[in-house]
Structures are given as structure tokens and as C-alpha cells.
């Protein structure tokens, strides 16, 4: 027995390590997005997100003071200031774009017209000239600096502070909850009929459901919106619930039917013998036993509706009052969608609710499974 325990613990280690590796592998891409959501756009394009935890070396430029800032000292015209900001340290500096690191801190550069520029290690610079400065735009001082890791919550402020976010949030919930619950209800009944009731054409109908899984959403948009307009449903919540129900139904029926088919025949047969009606069997036996499948489909349908933009813009519209979260976030990203930092942040804000749902549902997954495991006993 003891040998087995030892074997077991080394196995447990192997499992732990393997699982850990898998989880890490799966998390790295998202982690990148998460870290990027705390960086500003220039940082995102300047260095890899994994380098943001260590001090990073950057080359850029600052502008010196202008003629307005000059003072006269010992017969020279002088402009002074500091080229560093925050807790940066200076590695090198320069006065030309092509040689941005030509000088070491403390060295002096000779510029045209007898102008001299010195930049010290602490970033203070002193530019002197025998004749008065005339520029209205400061000279460029190129700096190679090392900055400590820096993160910003500015992106989150921007997204959370966006006008209409609360409204969009409510809209999304108004769309999502019925669009998740209704297809599950409808599909559960249909799945039960397909799995346990006797009627002609059952296998064909099951196969048809599989076939309908593959219908690409894009081909359905125009005929369906036309149908809605002709039926007088138009654009609105009713329309989008119906649409999401229709599009989610094949997967729901397929998953639930396959789960229900696997439920133990004896329980259902014995209930029938006891004189229970089909409706009672469904409500008292099938539904509780199918909880894990219902919960897992609920998660998928919820996610799909939550992240959907296409169906929402087509069937709900996209004026201010109708906007859903994805639509609002898309709007924040601007016409040309170049703002990766907002995208990263949005992705994380919109991911929060589905994750909460997943955690909440996980409890039910387990509970349902405990009920399901009775079947073996």
C-alpha cells in the first residue's frame, strides 16, 4: 500500500506540473493583452509586453526651452531646464536624429553659431549662446533613457468613464438574459422529444439539426431582417431575442439531445411504468439530471450573445439608446480602429462578466453532476 502511495504522489506531481504547463501555455496570450491594457499606445508599439516589467531603454527626444526662456548670464545667453521626467535615468544624448546617442552625460556639444549644449546625468541641460536665441520652437535634445516599469490606468478610466456605458450595460443584459434562457427552454423540450419520445422521422430531424448548425450567419441576415420588417417586428429587443434564439437553437438541441440520450433508460422506463406523464418525466427527472448540460450550454450561449456585435447592430440598431457593450467599445476605438490599448482594455472589461458567469455556473455544473452520478449507483 505504501509503495502505491509513493507512486501516487510522484504521479500527482507529474499531473500538477503538466496541468500547470498547459494552463500557462493557454494563459500567456491573454496575459499579454492584460499587461498591454495597462500600457499606453506608444509603449505598446515600442516594446514587447513581457519587457514592461523590467526597466526599459528608450530613445526619444524632448524640446529645450525657447527664446522666451533665455536669461543673460556672464555675457552669455542661457536656456536651462531638465530633459528627464519622472524617475528616468540618462544613458546618452544627442542633438541629431541620426546620432541620438552621440554624447555621454556631462559632455558638451558644439552647435552652429557657437551654441553649446551640456546635458548632465540628472537631466539638467544648459544651452549657451554668445548671441540672443531667436527660435520659437525648442531645439530637439535626443535622449537615451532607462525608465523604471510604468503602468497606467488611463485606458480603464477612458473606457469606464465613457458616456453611455451604464446604458449599454443594461441594454446588453436586456438582450443577453432572454436570449440565453429562451433557447435553452425551447431546446430542452425539443431535445427530450428527440431523445426519448417515439415518433416517425426522429433520426432525420436530428440530422437536420446537425445540418442547420453549419448555416453561416451572414447569409441569414438580409432575409431575416426583411422578414422581421414584413411581420412588423422591425428592429428592437423582440427581434434580437428571436434572432439569437433561432441562431443558438441548433447547437442547444444538438448538445442537449446527446446528453439526454445518455441518461439511464431504467429511470425513465420505471417512471413511465409508474404512470408519470411525459411532462412530469421531463420536469422531475430529465431537467434535474440534465443540469450540467444545461449549464454548459447556458455558458456558451451567454458568451456568444455577450460578445456578439453583428446580430445586435442588424436586429437592434446602433443609435445611442440601442447600443450594446460591444457596440460602444467599438465606437471608442474610432473609425479606423487603431487604438490597440482601448481594444485591450475593452476586451478585459467585457470579459469580466462572462468570467463571473462561468464561476457561478461552475457550482451548478458540480451540483448537477452529483445528481447525475446517482445513475451509476
Amino acid at each position: 500500500m505504501e509503495g502505491m502511495a509513493g507512486q501516487k504522489s510522484s504521479l500527482a506531481w507529474a499531473v500538477n506540473i503538466a496541468a500547470f504547463l498547459l494552463v500557462v501555455l493557454w494563459t500567456i496570450p491573454t496575459l499579454g493583452l492584460f499587461v498591454s491594457s495597462f500600457r499606453d499606445r506608444d509603449q505598446i508599439t515600442a516594446s514587447g509586453w513581457w519587457q514592461s516589467f523590467t526597466g526599459s531603454e528608450q530613445t526619444g527626444f524632448v524640446r529645450s526651452g525657447t527664446a522666451d526662456d533665455q536669461v543673460q548670464q556672464e555675457g552669455l545667453y542661457v536656456i536651462e531646464g531638465n530633459a528627464l521626467e519622472g524617475s528616468q535615468t540618462l544613458r546618452a544624448w544627442g542633438i541629431r536624429a541620426r546620432e541620438p546617442a552621440a554624447f555621454q552625460p556631462g559632455e558638451t556639444a558644439e552647435m552652429d553659431g557657437g551654441i553649446q549644449l551640456t546635458v548632465e546625468e540628472d537631466g539638467t541641460y544648459r544651452m549657451t549662446s554668445p548671441t540672443p536665441f531667436e527660435m520659437t520652437r525648442g531645439e530637439r535634445i535626443f535622449t537615451t533613457t532607462v525608465s523604471p516599469p510604468s503602468f497606467t490606468t488611463e485606458n480603464y478610466n477612458r473606457v469606464i468613464g465613457a458616456t453611455g456605458l451604464g446604458r449599454a450595460f443594461m441594454n446588453t443584459f436586456t438582450v443577453t438574459i432572454p436570449a440565453t434562457v429562451i433557447p435553452i427552454l425551447i431546446a430542452a423540450f425539443a431535445a427530450y422529444a428527440l431523445a426519448w419520445m417515439q415518433f416517425p422521422g426522429r433520426a432525420l430531424l436530428t440530422a437536420a439539426v446537425v445540418g442547420l448548425l453549419v448555416v453561416p450567419l451572414q447569409v441569414a441576415l438580409i432575409p431575416l431582417l426583411r422578414l422581421h420588417n414584413e411581420l412588423g417586428i422591425g428592429k428592437g429587443y423582440l427581434g434580437i431575442w428571436l434572432a439569437h434564439t433561432g441562431f443558438g437553437l441548433p447547437l442547444a438541441v444538438y448538445l442537449l439531445r446527446n446528453y439526454m440520450v445518455g441518461l439511464p433508460r431504467e429511470i425513465i422506463e420505471s417512471a413511465r411504468v409508474d404512470g408519470a406523464t411525459e411532462f412530469q418525466i421531463f420536469r422531475r427527472i430529465i431537467l434535474p439530471l440534465s443540469f450540467p448540460a444545461l449549464a454548459s450550454f447556458a455558458i456558451f450561449q451567454f458568451l456568444w450573445v455577450w460578445n456578439d456585435l453583428l446580430v445586435a447592430t442588424v436586429f437592434l440598431g446602433n443609435t445611442r439608446e440601442q447600443l450594446v457593450m460591444t457596440g460602444l467599445l467599438r465606437e471608442l476605438m474610432g473609425s479606423r480602429g487603431g487604438e490597440w490599448e482601448i481594444l485591450a482594455t475593452s476586451a478585459f472589461i467585457s470579459i469580466a462578466v462572462p468570467l463571473v458567469v462561468f464561476f457561478a455556473m461552475q457550482k451548478y455544473l458540480v451540483r448537477g453532476l452529483l445528481a447525475g452520478s446517482v445513475k451509476g449507483g
Partner: protein, 451 residues
């Protein structure tokens, strides 16, 4: 009696409050803006008071806010209510909505090709000969603009269906003036100079151009702008027109020559930052960053007037970065061609307020109020140039007004399968190593197969 009085006052106060909040410039306060034209317009259209209508367009974010600021004045002056909503999948949504029978009252088309398509299917309302005449008279290079909005309707007759408002100038080369100064480069004034400068920068051991064709689902489009600009500099405007309608086949030597010309810039690893591989994969939004790197990754970047949005934060256009007109060949035979784009307004319902909105867009006010903010260029010769808030934008506006030849983005004029498909992919193949002739043959084959 008293109660009604109070509620009326409250309602008026509320209405005044919300209206005031939306009007970004106090009416009558800024004398660069032609307020009178707004008042006259409102006086001429008393019938639309209380009407409301929807506008669907591609603008989101900043542009959306700016356009909404323009609408606010329209609503305020006329008592009508225009609601704008933007969509990033506008092209798709407008087709779905129109075909399904629930179109918006007014649609803002980013490309004429799509508008032409919907006009042919009978979804757009003709704007009338008077508006067509107005465009010819009041827009610089007015006939080019009129042609842009003129399509065959359902019955096959050509009519004006779309009104251009808000233009984009594409023939711009962006650079950092101080980098030019440091290196002693001059802004080229002829196309030949531009090529000479390119060679010189390369000889100096530097990289002249940043070109980025990446754009997610639309990867390749920046190359089509390049080819169009070069087409206008190597061939006549008439050839350009024939090319966009496929009267001149895509694999005609004239077109192949323009593609080769683009290859001269983009396929020479010494001329482009990141080598030719970098060209196809760099995102167009990140491409200009090379200008601002130190040491500079490149010295020039050809892109339309919207690109400063993607410059590093804090960049002051006009000082830290600037642009010059993509120059024309020295000989002068081809004039001063300008490649541009623009958004087209079309009416899709019988709502009278929608048609009145087009009339509103003819007023100098509708242009000046946006000019006085940012990001708006117009060919309207009646609009006050002083109204441009930003001197840089004003220079773009002047390029547009001075253009002897104005041509619209050709890829937008071609059928979607070409202009937003085969042309994009063809250019990626071309930069990736394919021969210009082979690519052009392939694109022409796709075009010929269209039914």
C-alpha cells in the same frame, strides 16, 4: 393654469439647456462662419419643423462627435431632429438594411462604388438636376465631384444620387522637417526630384520610405492609393478614368507601368523600412511611427490627411511633422493631379427633412462649422478659408481648391470585388515578389469574370 405655466417654463429651460450644451460655438459669435446662410436655410424650410430622421454613416469616435456637432446646429435652426448613428461595418449594414426594407433616411457612403450599387437597385432617391448644377458651380473641380455622385438608377438613366461632403486629400507625403534640415534634404517639387531624393537618402545609408500595407481584413489598400497616385503621375486623367471603369483593361501597359512605378519604391529593400517584407506586414497605423524614431527609420511616408491620428502622442502637426504635396512630373503635361476621397450623402427615404438636409449641406455654414473645429477639408469654394482652425488643414484645403485635376480614389470606384478584393490581394502578391504583369493579368481575369 399655473401648473401648465411652470411645466412649460421647465420644458423650455430643459430644451434650452440641452441645445446650448450641444452647440460648440455660440451662434453668431465667430465671424469667420457664415451664420446668415444657416438662418436663410432655416427660413426657407419651415415645413420640416418637428420632423425627425436617421442618418447612418461610417464615422465613429472623434469624427462622430464632430459630425454630431454639425447636426446640432441643423436641429437647433430648423426644429427638426436628425439622429446620427455610426457603424464600423457600415458597408455591410447599409446593404442589409436597404435590402431588408428598413433603410435609414440618409446614408453617408465612404465610397461611391457602394452607393452606385444601391442606386442601381433603386434604393437611393435622385437629388435632382439643380443640385448637380450646384455642385458644378460651387465645388472646385466641380465636374469631377458631380461625376462621383452620378450613377445609373434602376431604370438605367444617369442621375445625381449622392452629395459629396467632407473630403480627404490623399496625395500627401509626410515628413519630419527637422530631420530633413539635419540631413540637408529639400522638399521635392517635382516627381523627378522625389525619386532623386529617394535615391540620395538611400545612398546616404538611410531609409527613405515607410510603407505599411497591413490593415487586418483590408490589408493591401494603402498600396492601391500609391498605385492610383502614380497612375495620375504617369498617365493622363482620361486614362485614369478609363482604368477605373475597365474600359482600359487592368493589364494594359499603362497600368502595369504605374504598378511597376510603385514597385520602384516599395520593392527596393534599400528604399523601405523593414525591407519588402516589412511593407506587406507592417500595419498602416504603425507605419508612420518610423518617421519619429531616433535614429529615424525612414524619412517619408505617403498617406492621406487622416494619418496624424496615428502619430505618436503629443506630435504637433506643422512643427514636429509636416507634409508636402506628392509632386507632379516636371513636364507639366499632367497638371497638378490630386487624389482624394470623400464621403457621399444619399437620401434613402421620402422623408422631406432628409432631402432638406442635403440642402443644408450646400450652405457655407455646414462646411465652416466643421472647418472651425478639426479634421475637415472641403472643395466648397464658397466656404471661407479663414474658417480653417488649423493652418495645416487649411493647406490641405488649398491643395484641393488648387487642383487642376481631381480624381477620386480609384479602388473605391471599381466594383467591390476588384477595388476591395482582387486589387488589394494583387498588390500584396506584387510586393511579395510577383511580376506586375502577372498580377495585373490576374486582376483583369477576376474583373472579366464579374457578371
Amino acid at each position: 393654469m399655473r401648473i401648465t405655466f411652470f411645466t412649460t417654463v421647465a420644458a423650455m429651460a430643459l430644451a434650452a439647456g440641452s441645445a446650448q450644451a450641444q452647440l460648440v460655438i455660440e451662434p453668431g459669435s465667430d465671424d469667420r462662419i457664415n451664420w446668415q446662410s444657416l438662418d436663410e436655410f432655416a427660413a426657407a424650410h419651415p415645413e420640416i419643423e418637428g420632423q425627425s430622421f436617421n442618418i447612418l454613416g461610417p464615422w465613429l469616435g472623434g469624427d462622430q462627435e464632430l459630425f454630431q456637432s454639425v447636426i446640432a446646429y441643423f436641429n437647433d435652426a430648423t426644429g427638426a431632429t436628425a439622429n446620427y448613428s455610426g457603424s464600423d461595418s457600415f458597408e455591410q449594414q447599409i446593404v442589409i438594411d436597404a435590402e431588408a426594407g428598413s433603410p435609414p433616411d440618409v446614408a453617408v457612403f465612404p465610397q461611391p462604388g457602394l452607393a452606385a450599387d444601391l442606386a442601381e437597385r433603386g434604393h437611393l432617391r435622385p437629388l435632382g438636376a439643380e443640385t448637380a448644377y450646384w455642385l458644378r458651380e460651387n465645388y472646385a473641380a466641380g465636374e469631377s465631384w458631380e461625376a462621383l455622385g452620378t450613377y445609373a438608377g434602376q431604370d438605367g438613366t444617369d442621375e445625381l444620387f449622392a452629395f459629396p461632403y467632407k473630403a480627404d486629400v490623399k496625395s500627401l507625403v509626410w515628413f519630419v522637417p527637422e530631420n530633413f534640415e539635419d540631413a540637408g534634404y529639400e522638399v521635392p517639387t517635382t516627381y523627378e526630384d522625389l525619386k532623386a531624393l529617394t535615391e540620395q537618402i538611400a545612398e546616404d545609408g538611410e531609409t527613405p520610405w515607410c510603407i505599411g500595407l497591413g490593415s487586418g481584413g483590408a490589408t493591401g489598400w494603402p498600396a492601391t492609393d500609391w498605385v492610383e497616385d502614380l497612375m495620375l503621375r504617369t498617365a493622363s486623367p482620361e486614362d485614369y478614368d478609363r482604368w477605373t471603369t475597365n474600359e482600359m483593361p487592368f493589364n494594359d501597359p499603362v497600368v502595369v507601368n504605374a504598378i511597376e512605378e510603385f514597385g520602384w519604391f516599395a520593392k527596393n529593400p534599400d528604399f523601405v523600412a523593414g525591407g519588402t517584407g516589412g511593407v506587406t506586414s507592417t500595419d498602416f497605423r504603425e507605419s508612420p511611427a518610423g518617421l519619429f524614431a531616433s535614429p529615424p527609420a525612414c524619412y517619408m511616408h505617403r498617406q492621406a490627411s487622416f494619418i496624424p491620428t496615428f502619430f505618436p502622442e503629443g506630435t504637433v502637426v506643422g512643427e514636429d511633422a509636416d507634409f508636402f504635396y506628392m509632386p507632379a512630373p516636371e513636364s507639366g503635361d499632367l497638371g497638378q493631379p490630386v487624389l482624394g476621397g470623400g464621403t457621399m450623402f444619399a437620401v434613402m427615404s421620402d422623408n422631406p427633412a432628409a432631402m432638406a438636409f442635403i440642402e443644408f449641406l450646400k450652405t457655407p455654414f455646414a462646411h465652416e462649422i466643421w472647418m472651425a473645429q478639426q479634421g475637415f477639408v472641403t472643395p466648397h469654394s464658397g466656404a471661407n478659408l479663414e474658417a480653417y482652425d488649423d493652418p495645416v488643414v487649411r493647406r490641405m484645403g488649398e491643395i484641393l481648391l488648387e487642383a487642376t485635376v481631381f480624381r477620386f480614389d480609384g479602388s473605391d470606384l471599381m466594383p467591390g470585388a476588384i477595388g476591395a478584393g482582387a486589387f488589394w490581394t494583387g498588390m500584396i502578391d506584387f510586393v511579395g515578389g510577383a511580376e506586375a504583369q502577372a498580377v495585373a493579368d490576374q486582376i483583369q481575369a477576376t474583373w472579366s469574370s464579374l457578371n
